[in-house]
């Protein structure tokens, strides 16, 4: 069912955990639907210097969380926004069709975290400029 890469990222997920005082946090999904992904980011000079996640969900959800955080680590925010669910899926050697929605979850969580970061930046600037 799952590729070797998926199983590897499921069993040995990269970047699991939380970041204290993150610069951006995103949480998408809900428990009712069976998957939640929460992403924490440390961002310096627009570069994602650290990223961690916590995921409640199936094997595909955990593996895509792991892979997508790997793919954006060290990237600029703009580069990270271009990491689509398609790229994550490809990097995992594909996903069963019924599991493709899990890769969307990861994409959305990352976007939400970056959005959160940008909002915070905007707030800071507003605060600074006052």
């Amino acid at each position: 069912m799952y590729s070797e890469q998926v199983m590897d990222h499921f069993m040995n997920p990269r970047n699991v955990g939380e970041i204290e005082n993150p610069d951006g946090v995103g949480e998408v999904g809900n428990a009712r639907c069976g998957d939640i992904m929460k992403v924490f980011m440390k961002i310096e000079n627009d570069i994602i210097v650290d990223v961690k996640f916590k995921t409640f969900g199936c094997g595909a959800a955990i593996a895509t969380s792991s892979m997508s955080t790997e793919l954006i680590k060290g990237k600029t925010v703009d580069e990270a926004l271009r990491v689509t669910n398609k790229k994550v899926t490809e990097a995992l050697g594909g996903l069963p069709p019924v599991k493709l929605h899990c890769s969307v979850l990861a994409e959305e969580a990352i976007k939400a975290a970056i959005e959160d970061y940008k909002n915070k930046q905007a707030e800071k600037q507003t605060a600074d400029s006052i």
Binding site: C33, G34, C58, G59
Partner: protein
């Protein structure tokens, strides 16, 4: 890694060697069509008759009340559609439970789209149907009551004898899906007032591809498989003789020594249940504590998702199943777990382990060694779980 512990017998069982042995000649030597006049046909007919007698004996039925089908699903479809269509002049109302297998539930949904009305009775927190609710749901339009003998997910055993008595008293047909029950609960169609009963060989160490419908003499039912004159002109299609022979042998074995086999299975089951309850926090046993199939264990583990749990166990050599939506590609978790009152989030974290005749104490102990670690690992990854507080409430 040496471990291989199969705990998914409710999904399907292996075919017992002595069953396969009886089947084998019917592939290559005694391969005749039971409808044929010649000796190959007669040999086949004899085997078919014997399987029918064995099946009838297992249920205290008459051989000509047994109709072989290709699966338990087909038996369920036939039982429900066949009686509904044949009795639609009498009424258009069917009573069933909300925790039936989809083979019954989706057949009922199909009938609803075609002019029938269906009452889906609720169950209590243990998954029990209340016979009095069956009685109260009966109207003068009711033509069929269909309640399963035992549930495939949570193992709850229904009071089908009582339900049968009520249906008989009211002159309404009673069907029971006994796919999970055969070999686990003694069944007597006469004593239990059962008019129709479905079974499936691969659930009791027989082969896949053979099911049967018991239909009491005189039950009015329409055919759903049209064609040749097989099964006394009520179910068309060349008989799957090897599998039917296997069904016959398997059911004979299955109904022998039920108490002894159950005692062994229950000891293992209780060891597993007690072990999980004492080593894993924030868990819930689903189904009835006592009125449950001897081999059924069903737990919900908070904060984690069932498929991830299954995968993790599989890597450790343990084969189980789950009512999580993610195992089936559907959107909602098991309708059974929802019907006993679990929230969606808890239902997603369910694990079913169903024991079989080859399982040992070592198997159980191995599961008890592995499961707590696996649950813990997944919880640590979960945003719903807080290591210190032991978990947060669901959003």
């Amino acid at each position: 890694m040496g471990h291989s512990v199969y705990l998914d017998h409710a999904s399907t069982t292996y075919t017992k060697p002595e069953v396969l042995k009886e089947m084998l000649p019917y592939f290559t030597d005694l391969y005749g069509n039971p409808s044929s006049v010649h000796r190959y046909g007669r040999e086949a007919r004899k085997a078919l008759d014997q399987a029918r007698e064995r099946t009838a004996a297992a249920l205290n039925a008459d051989p000509n009340e047994i109709y072989f089908t290709g699966s338990g699903t087909e038996a369920d479809n036939w039982a429900v559609k066949g009686t509904a269509l044949a009795n639609s002049k009498k009424g258009n109302h069917i009573i069933t439970s909300s925790i039936e297998h989809h083979a019954v539930l989706y057949t009922c949904k199909y009938l609803e789209r075609n002019g029938f009305e269906v009452t889906y009775l609720p169950v209590d927190e243990y998954g029990l149907v209340d016979p009095e609710q069956v009685r109260n749901a009966i109207t003068d339009k009711t033509i069929l009551v269909s309640v399963m003998a035992a549930n495939n997910e949570i193992g709850t055993i229904q009071p089908i004898g009582e339900i049968g008595a009520i249906a008989r008293e009211k002159g309404i047909l009673f069907h029971t899906d006994a796919v999970q029950a055969v070999g686990s609960i003694p069944i007597d169609v006469k004593e239990m007032n059962i008019d129709l009963l479905s079974l499936s060989a691969h659930k009791f160490y027989g082969p896949k591809g053979a099911g049967a419908l018991y239909m009491r003499k005189g039950v009015k039912s329409e055919q759903i498989m049209h064609g040749g004159a097989q099964e006394r002109n009520r179910r068309a299609g060349t008989e799957n003789l090897p599998a039917i022979v296997g069904l016959g042998k398997a059911i004979e074995l299955a109904v022998t020594d039920i108490p002894q086999r159950n005692a062994r299975l229950e000891a293992l089951r209780n060891r597993l249940i007690d072990g999980i309850l004492s080593t894993v926090e924030n868990t819930r046993l689903n189904g009835h504590p006592i009125k449950r199939l001897a081999g059924n264990v069903n737990f919900s583990f908070e904060f984690i998702e069932g498929e991830a749990l299954l995968l993790s166990l599989d890597i450790k050599g343990i084969a189980g199943s789950s009512g999580s939506a993610c195992t089936s590609g559907s959107l909602d978790p098991s309708h059974v777990l929802l019907a006993i009152g679990l929230s969606h989030e808890i239902a997603h974290g369910s694990l079913r382990l169903t024991l079989g005749d080859r399982n040992t104490e070592e198997d159980i102990d191995y599961v008890l060694e592995v499961l707590p670690e696996v649950v813990q690992r997944l919880r640590e990854m979960s945003p719903l779980f807080n290591q210190n507080k032991g978990g947060r409430t669901y959003v």
